[in-house]
């Protein structure tokens, strides 16, 4: 999954992704795509549902956890996974955008929560990167 802006890295108890992007918006999109990849096979999802999202948080890490948590909540409530994202505005404390997705053929992982564990959005290469550890 190297070409997709995320890769799974071993974690003893849980599931971890290293995520990167040129800017905060791309980092957030890649983190969401990584979570989708953990949840289901994206190729089995027809993007039939569009969900608008506007989120606020104290800082970029809390915003990232909130963003992924919002998508995870919609997964648990409606069985949705999201494959396309349009972020119109992303600052470290505010996000406006939409996610498109649908119900996959089958779910492959149950994620309990998105954690702050090892999360640290920092400059790397020509952009930003962070770890995202999911409690499963």
């Amino acid at each position: 999954m190297n070409g997709n802006g995320f890769e799974e890295v071993p974690h003893t108890a849980d599931v971890a992704l290293r995520v990167w992007g040129h800017d905060l918006a791309e980092l957030f999109v890649n983190a969401a795509r990584g979570m989708t990849w953990l949840l289901a096979d994206p190729d089995t999802v027809a993007p039939t549902v569009e969900v608008p999202l506007e989120l606020d948080a104290d800082d970029a890490e809390v915003l990232l956890v909130t963003w992924l948590g919002e998508l995870l909540y919609l997964n648990e409530r409606d069985g949705l996974v999201f494959t396309a994202f349009t972020l119109k505005q992303v600052t470290p404390t505010h996000l406006v955008g939409q996610a498109r997705g649908g119900v996959p053929k089958e779910l492959r992982t149950h994620i309990k929560a998105v954690t702050f564990n090892e999360m640290d959005i920092r400059p790397a290469g020509r952009g930003l990167e962070t770890m995202v550890v999911f409690d499963v």
């Binding site: 108890a13 069985g79 492959r108 702050f116």
Partner: protein, 483 residues
């Protein structure tokens, strides 16, 4: 970087890291391990997370890790820490996302030969009766108002609904109801997630298992717990489902502000906390107690589903198909308890994250029939391996605030497990051992394969030898049901 040489061995199975090791530690840290398990602590972030735990305000005596320790988030898994009720903090990172994940053990009046002819049918009936898997919906539907009652009353709510026997409550930690639950402190989203899931197993490492009592180590304690050789028993391992996950998620985020407000310096955001006597700390405790009670009800409703499955398959075929409850323990929880600290009785908020209460004889919290010997400590093994029943000890009261291990403890990541273990092969291997397997997916099987865990027998030996709990019985699996 903390190294092995920084620890001193204060007893054969206790390794202590002095408070001076890191400037921000408020107390020393202790690992309970034999030499091999101690070495393993340096293979992941266990030690770092334990040291981080030792920095929390109000922590008393030690930050401790039970022998099944491994890296978690905030506290290590296997972490135990007690905070002074007046000056200490409460931390969602010391409880975990699956609040009151725990284990229930049900005993039968049947021996293995009574059950073997019906084992496959019984396993299939339990699988049908106990919804499992990713996003599984529960056996019981509740309204918003009923959910509020459920999370305040815990197992008493189930009893009123005809979903429990009164003896079940007596044999549940806290009687199946942690006081102080406040539904007003729980978000509408947590309630929305929790409402459809009452009486569901979920996925991941949660399971139902039909076992046989393979060996008895302490005949008297086994007799008191209702266990005997060759007896068939059933284990239930699950927690508070989406309700508890959301409560933790909400408070890990919202308490970030409390950390700033109260001037607390933390080495890890997952250790987010608030003073126990602050509005924020009280709100988290009230919400966490709701999730604790939700989990007690969840396991209770599943137990009734198992009873129904036994009746459906065995009625008319065996003399007595009823199941009685040996005990139900929580292994992700924070609660107020009284303990001796330097000869003085003090009220503490004991955090057990991947650790089981192991109260010894005489504690008033224990049911009448167990008070003379101590509480059952339930230690599930990994899938296909043995599980253990132990009994709490006085020594645990002195060493670990009456705490012990909760399981085997992982050693291999899920991604590594998927690469090195094929679920279909594992299924064949388990079936080759005569174990009936009912699982939602082979992938899920691979991720929970025995090879990804420490040897539970080794962990239990350390617990026994250190005196944190004493071995009573060993259980061997006959059938495994997983989401």
């Amino acid at each position: 970087m903390i190294e092995k040489k920084d620890f001193r061995r204060v007893e054969r199975l206790i390794w202590e890291l002095p408070q001076e090791t890191r400037q921000d530690m408020r107390v020393p840290a202790r690992l309970f391990a034999d030499a091999e398990l101690f070495d393993a602590a340096f293979g992941d972030r266990t030690v770092e997370q334990l040291v981080n735990t030792a920095t929390l305000p109000g922590i008393v005596n030690y930050a401790m890790a039970m022998p099944d320790f491994h890296q978690g988030y905030g506290f290590p898994i296997g972490g135990v820490a007690a905070m002074d009720a007046n000056s200490g903090v409460i931390s969602p990172g010391g409880v975990g996302y699956d609040i009151n994940c725990g284990v229930r053990l049900l005993g039968t009046h049947l021996d293995k030969p009574d059950v073997m002819p019906h084992l496959e049918n019984l396993t299939a009936a339990i699988y049908q009766a106990c919804p499992s898997g990713v996003g599984g919906k529960g056996r019981v539907r509740v309204s918003e108002r009923e959910l509020d009652e459920l999370v305040v009353q815990g197992s008493r709510w189930a009893l009123k609904r005809g979903l429990a026997h009164s003896e079940d409550l007596a044999h549940t930690e806290e009687g199946g109801c942690l006081p102080g639950a406040n539904p007003g402190a729980v978000s509408s989203r947590a309630k929305e997630r929790g409402r459809p899931q009452v009486g569901s197993l979920g996925a991941g490492n949660h399971f139902l298992e039909i076992d046989v009592v393979d060996e008895i180590y302490d005949a008297h304690a086994a007799d008191v717990f209702g266990l005997r050789p060759n007896q068939v028993v059933v284990q239930v391992h699950c927690g508070s489902r989406g309700f508890g996950h959301q409560v933790c998620d909400d408070y890990v985020k919202s308490l970030q502000g409390a950390v700033r407000k109260y001037g607390i310096t933390l080495p890890d955001r997952e250790l987010v906390c608030a003073p126990l006597d602050s509005p924020e700390g009280k709100a988290y405790y009230g919400a966490m107690a709701c999730a604790v009670n939700y989990a007690f009800v969840n396991r209770q409703v599943l137990a009734m589903g198992i009873r129904g499955a036994f009746e459906q398959v065995l009625a008319g075929k065996v003399r007595n198909f009823d199941l009685f409850q040996v005990y139900d323990v929580a292994h992700n929880i924070a609660k107020f308890e009284e303990h001796d600290v330097g000869g003085q009785r003090r009220r503490l908020c004991v955090h057990r994250k991947g650790a089981t209460r192991s109260f010894g004889p005489g504690r008033p919290e224990l049911p009448d029939d167990y008070r003379d010997i101590g509480q059952p400590v339930l230690v599930p093994g990994s899938m296909g391996t043995s599980s253990y029943v132990l009994v709490g000890t006085e020594k645990a009261m002195q060493l670990t605030w009456g705490s012990s291990c909760h399981g085997a403890g992982r050693v291999m990541s899920r991604s590594q497990a998927r690469k090195s273990i094929w679920g279909a092969d594992l299924r064949k291997e388990l079936e080759g051992q005569g174990i009936v397997v009912q699982a939602g997916s082979d992938k899920g099987l691979a991720e929970e394969a025995p090879a990804v865990y420490k040897d539970v027998s080794r962990v239990v030996e350390v617990v026994h030898d250190a005196g944190l709990a004493h071995k009573v019985a060993c259980l061997r699996p006959l059938a495994v049901i997983k989401g």
